[in-house]
């Protein structure tokens, strides 16, 4: 119950999809973030992978990741449109409601904010019939969008109900974006929060950020930004964010550890956030709903 808000990401583990799902469940988590590779790399194909996810009983936090979508023109735009549609179809096959799209790194993409917003609007429209929300995330090495404040501006400019922000603590810390800006966000339009930390203070160049992001992330509480991470989470909580937190931890060492060892580290991280940072010792008020019973009087229920 305490760590219901937190989930693991399959990218933290080595092994098969089934063994990852099993390790995540055994560590007490109830949700999982999936990558397209989990599906297409499954020996039984996409349908078998989707069935394995359903059988695990885990809720799918989100599906990742669509890259370099916005800002392209001509045949490049048409190509990315096809990729986006295939990703949306896979996301829908999983019964997943959130798809992550990260800001473009492409040198072929325009930097015109009007065109970027227009493309995001189109992406969001593609997702509507499938019941999917698009979480747009600023990669800290994105070409023209590399801080969440810029991603948020585009989300506001595009102005679609199913387009929101994906917030990743790694990129916030790597780009050294001031956490004060979180207070300017609309909590209803934050569709996903991914948490991780890393072991050094500075990542000055884009190359350094990329290397750190892809190989040296650690779970919250294990890195050198614990204080900022706690601040980020409490700010989001105070703002009214009641969505999911997913551990986005790419780490080469964790890729060669037993799965239950990695999952235990994640579980310890979730408990730190739940108990020490957010002080969730009792069921969350946000998880209680008022609903009238047969007699018409409201009864409090736990979801």
């Amino acid at each position: 119950m305490k760590i219901d808000e937190f989930g693991m990401d399959t990218i933290s583990f080595a092994g098969t999809l089934e063994s990852k799902l099993q390790a995540i469940t055994a560590a007490g988590f109830s949700q999982v973030m999936l990558s397209a590779r989990d599906l297409v790399g499954h020996p039984g194909g996409v349908d078998a992978a989707a069935a394995a996810v359903r059988d695990s009983g885990l809720r799918v936090t989100g599906f990742q990741v669509l890259r370099d979508f916005e800002g392209l023109s001509g045949h490049l735009h048409q190509y990315k449109l096809d990729i986006a549609k295939s990703m949306i179809e896979m996301c829908a096959a999983l019964g997943c409601k959130v798809m992550l799209a990260c800001s473009s790194t492409s040198v072929h993409a325009t930097e015109d904010p009007g065109k970027l917003a227009q493309d995001l609007r189109k992406l969001a429209m593609l997702a509507i019939p499938h019941g999917i929300r698009i979480a747009f995330e600023a990669l800290s090495w994105g070409r023209s969008v590399n801080e969440f404040t810029q991603a948020w501006e585009l989300v506001c400019e595009a102005d679609c109900p199913n387009l929101g922000l994906g917030l990743d603590s790694f990129h916030v810390f790597a780009a050294k974006t001031a956490l004060d800006h979180i207070d300017d966000l609309d909590p209803e339009r934050i569709f996903l929060v991914q948490l991780s930390d890393f072991m050094w203070q500075e990542t000055r160049s884009f190359e350094e950020r990329i290397a750190t992001a892809r190989h040296f992330r650690v779970f919250p509480g294990e890195g050198v930004h614990s204080e900022q991470l706690a601040s980020l989470v409490t700010r989001l909580d105070r703002l009214g964010y009641r969505g999911d937190y997913s551990f986005e931890v790419f780490n080469d060492d964790y890729q060669q550890l037993p799965l239950d060892t990695v999952a235990r580290r994640a579980s310890r991280s979730a408990l730190w956030l739940a108990e020490d940072v957010l002080r969730r010792s009792t069921p969350l008020p946000s998880r209680m709903v008022l609903r009238p019973n047969a007699g018409g009087t409201p009864a409090v229920e736990l979801r």
Binding site: K122, A124, M125, P129, G131, N162
Partner: protein
């Protein structure tokens, strides 16, 4: 270009961007076309034509066209229709189908692969709710699309008059929890639909959110699941067809004579504002809605 000329061109596209002009037809998919045909005939529709290459029948009364599609595997890999009929498509009349189609795709609509046989019409379409398609038709004034793809059933009046009702009022669309804003955006952005204020309501089932087509000829009603009912399916779909009647009690009397049963319960009964038929074949119901005579 002069300012006056720009204004002249901008005027209509702003209010009705694809030149929407009503519903051309509503299509049901079912593996039991005869059973659905009997229900449609009870409500006043008559079979008037058969598709040239597929198991598809055209029913008509007055200005309303309903297509019953029982053909399996139109597109390679697609499944045969289920037994319980569902509204699988609506076709909208537009000023220029190609222009409307391209405009919608440009804004992120999802195209339906075309699958016309030789000498058949290639009708462009986009994905709507729950796998239903929204087709675009611009040839409805000078000639009928049915003259190309359908053969008339011999000895049958091709234009049977409407029984009891005047025309399509609109469609009720069931949507998932917290999806009203998404679908409002979809219809507004792609087709120029306008949300009506909550106090503007029609018929006897005023739940949800109502949108008016930019041509003013029909309505869409978006309904989220009732939060008090745990068991309700979250499946999104066009759930039922609304038929406009200038005199609902008279229409109810007439349709009852033809065998149609209406829902009569403590909270819901046929009255002047509207009426609801019982569900036939597990899924097919019609709602009568009072409309003023033009």
């Amino acid at each position: 270009m002069s300012v006056a000329a720009m204004e002249r061109e901008a005027l209509e596209p702003l209010s009705n961007p694809i030149g929407l002009d009503g519903i051309e037809y509503v299509e049901y998919a079912t593996s039991k076309p005869q059973a659905l045909g009997e229900v449609l005939e009870m409500v006043g529709f008559r079979p008037v034509a058969r598709h040239r290459s597929r198991e598809v029948l055209l029913y008509r009364q007055g200005e309303m066209n309903v297509i019953v599609n029982a053909s399996a595997g139109l597109v390679r890999g697609t499944q045969a229709p289920a037994e319980a009929p569902r509204i699988s498509a609506i076709a909208l009349r537009v000023r220029d189908a190609r222009a409307a189609y391209e405009r919608m795709l440009e804004r992120g609509a999802w195209e339906v692969p075309m699958h016309a046989e030789v000498m058949e019409l290639n009708i462009p379409g986009i994905h709507g709710p729950g796998g239903a398609h929204i087709y675009l038709v611009d040839r409805y004034r000078e000639f009928s699309i049915y003259d190309v793809d359908f053969s008339r059933i011999p000895g049958v009046d091709p234009r049977p008059p409407a029984v009891a009702v005047q025309g399509f009022f609109g469609l009720v669309q069931y949507i998932d929890v917290a999806r009203t804003a998404d679908w409002l955006h979809f219809y507004r952005e792609l087709m120029g639909f306008v949300e009506l204020p909550p106090e503007q309501r029609f018929g006897i089932l005023p739940k949800g959110t109502l949108m008016r087509s930019p041509c003013g000829k029909f309505f869409l009603q978006l309904i989220e699941p009732d939060p008090r009912a745990d068991s309700e399916s979250s499946q999104e779909m066009y759930q039922r067809l609304g038929l406009g009647a200038s005199d609902v009690p008279a229409a109810v009397r007439e349709l009852r004579k033809r065998g149609v049963e209406f829902v009569e319960s403590a909270g819901l009964r046929a009255e002047e504002r509207g009426a609801l038929t019982r569900a036939y074949l597990g899924s097919v119901m019609f709602e009568l809605v009072h409309v003023a005579v033009a």
